[in-house]
Amino acid sequence: MSWFEKLIPSRIGTSTRAKGNVPEGLWVKCEGCGSVLYRAELERANEVCDKCGKHMRQYARARIKQLMDPDSYRELDEHVRPVDALKFRDSKRYRDRLSQATKDSGENDALIVVTGKITGIQVVVAVFDFRFMGGSMGSVVGEKFVRACEHCIANGLPFVCFSASGGARMQEALFSLLQMGKTSSKLAQLAEARLPFISVLTDPTMGGVSASLAMLGDVIIAEPGARIGFAGPRVIEQTVREKLPEGFQSSEFLLEHGAIDMIVSRGEMRETLGSLLEMLLKKPASSSSDVSVQQQEPVAAEAASSQPVPDTAQTETQAAAMSNPQETANAGSSGIADSPSAGKTATDKNTRSSESGDVPDGTTPRPTN
């Protein structure tokens, strides 16, 4: 340390980092388009920029709150805490890094597990918190993940995991590497029990997490614009000594290369998961959920009329029900979603379904029986 560095109070160094992690200001700048966004508004929009659609990182508890049916869930294994088995010390002690991470994030470690309902379907959901040491996987993440799977197996529940992780946690050395085997082994048992595992990749999903649990989903979904890959871009650049192609390791890149099933925006995630799980579990399309696209004519009309839909829309809906069951189904869904476009429901099916986002792409509404 130079004499000059010694003169500077140490907090100057740390204050900038804290700012990067937890924006405290009233206004934040969009990482995508640079627009200045009102903090509270951005939170309401689930950290998605309303100007450019950029998905910024969302922390575990906010995501859980957005995703789960209100008051339907409880946390599992929240008391599992990390230990410093190796007495690891680099430029800082691991113990100190842990307490700092807990202070910054309010979490014990980087994975939070809950059980509860998504659109009425009982599930177990594990969510990585990137604020806690970059969402890195150590013993606690591995243990909580495995217990989540065991809870699924014991109760016959499907499993959903949202990953956001730089990879294995170096401070736990080989313990963390072996978590890749531990989690993958348990997922193999979940698969053997024929319980669905949906893996959702969010920004970033890299290294040991990507090369184990995250890529083992029966269905793999990514959020738009997430970085997903095995090796970090700098490492690759240094190895191959060439510039990486545009969009390399983005969700869109992975979709194009056949590595993931679909890209789903945060706003549509809940409905998409609900619909996928219903099909995987061979449940009828639920009438209580927002995705009532597979309704029979009379049921759809009933669902629509039981919702607070403007009078005009309702009459149009009922009129449509006489002529076209597809229109009815869509109208019902728009009404429930309380969408401002509900009044126009019966006019243009295509534009409406893409506007409201209630109807998953490619799902052709069709009457059951």
Partner: protein, 322 residues
């Protein structure tokens, strides 16, 4: 200065050179200096013992990557008979960073899969320095499934700096290829014994390392990231690799102590490269013993044990104060 030897091995190299000179001299002359040679050989042993008993983690890493260290190809020839190499993943290509095939160990057919680094420059390029691309892992998976189908035990040999960080590798799903192997090996219904023979580099190593028994040669290393990688990220300087190696605990004795590996196979004095044949004989004996023990079990017991083994890794605490 012997360029094939590491800094801390130079005294050994010098003494070895001196002994060789003397031996050449005795062939020509009538004088009997065998006493002298024996004395020097004893001195060499105690010198080597002295150096090797005090190796730090970083020095062990250098032994694990020694340019004279026996690679997989050597062990295949030394341990097995009838080796029939099987190529390709049937999807895209044949990645020579992983070699696989069938062979006989003590007359019994087995499937062998392992990393090969390549000795000379040409071979290193051919084998991509032992850094597999997805095709390598998918070839490994194909061979494991073949082994399961025909009830042949699987022996894997780990010696890699890590999975290859390249554009094509990412495009073709490096993560998925590794993850899939972890998944498949976890439930593969045949015994799997993995041995780290050199460098156990991260996910690229683990991708063929989910086993019933994990062995390490005495001077092999096994780690979540290379000491250099860890140093440049956590210490912001690659020169701190030695500190990082120490902190991570990458050596066989440390990992055995932590119960993260099952068995350490002792190396000849001065490391495997000083006496490859002796190393091969020790390894062969260990593998036969391990395999025999696993083959005593029914497949259901085997799978149950493997599940339990991989379930219990990890150190954490739990407070039930809720």
């Amino acid at each position: 200065m012997n360029p094939d030897y590491l800094d801390f091995e130079q005294p050994i190299a010098e003494l070895q050179a001196k002994i060789r000179e003397l031996q050449f001299a005795t062939e020509d002359a009538d004088i009997n200096i065998s006493d002298e040679v024996t004395k020097l050989e004893n001195k060499l042993d105690s010198l080597t013992q002295g150096i090797f008993s005090k190796l730090n983690a970083w020095q062990v890493a250098q032994i694990a990557r020694h340019k004279l260290r026996p690679y997989l190809r050597f062990y295949i020839d030394a341990l097995f008979t009838d080796f029939k190499e099987l190529h390709g993943d049937r999807l895209y290509g044949d990645d020579r960073a992983i070699i696989g095939g069938m062979a006989r160990l003590d007359g019994h057919p087995v499937v062998i899969i392992g990393h090969e680094k390549g000795r000379d420059t040409k071979a290193k390029i051919k084998h991509n320095f032992g850094m597999p691309r997805p095709e390598g892992y998918r070839k490994a998976k194909r061979l494991m499934e073949l082994a399961e189908r025909f009830e042949l035990p699987v022996l894997t040999f780990i010696d890699t700096p890590g999975a290859y960080p390249g554009i094509g590798a990412e495009e073709r799903g490096q993560s998925e290829a590794i993850a899939r192997n972890l998944f498949v090996m976890s439930e593969l219904r045949t015994p799997i014994i993995s041995t780290v023979i050199g460098e156990g580099g991260s996910g690229g190593a683990l991708a063929i390392g989910i086993a019933d028994r994990v062995l390490m040669l005495e001077y092999a290393i096994y780690s979540v990231i290379s000491p250099e990688g860890c140093a440049s990220i956590l210490y912001k300087s690659a020169e701190k690799a030695s500190d990082a190696a120490e902190a991570m605990g990458i050596t066989s004795s440390r990992l055995l102590g932590l119960k993260l590996v099952d068995r350490v196979v002792n190396e000849p004095l001065g490391g495997a490269h000083q006496n490859p044949d002796k190393m091969a004989a020790t390894l062969a004996a260990a593998l036969k013993e391990e395999l025999a023990a696993q083959q005593q079990l029914s497949i259901d017991e085997l799978i149950r044990n493997r599940r339990e083994k991989w379930r219990q890794f990890g150190e954490f605490q739990e407070e039930n104060n809720a």
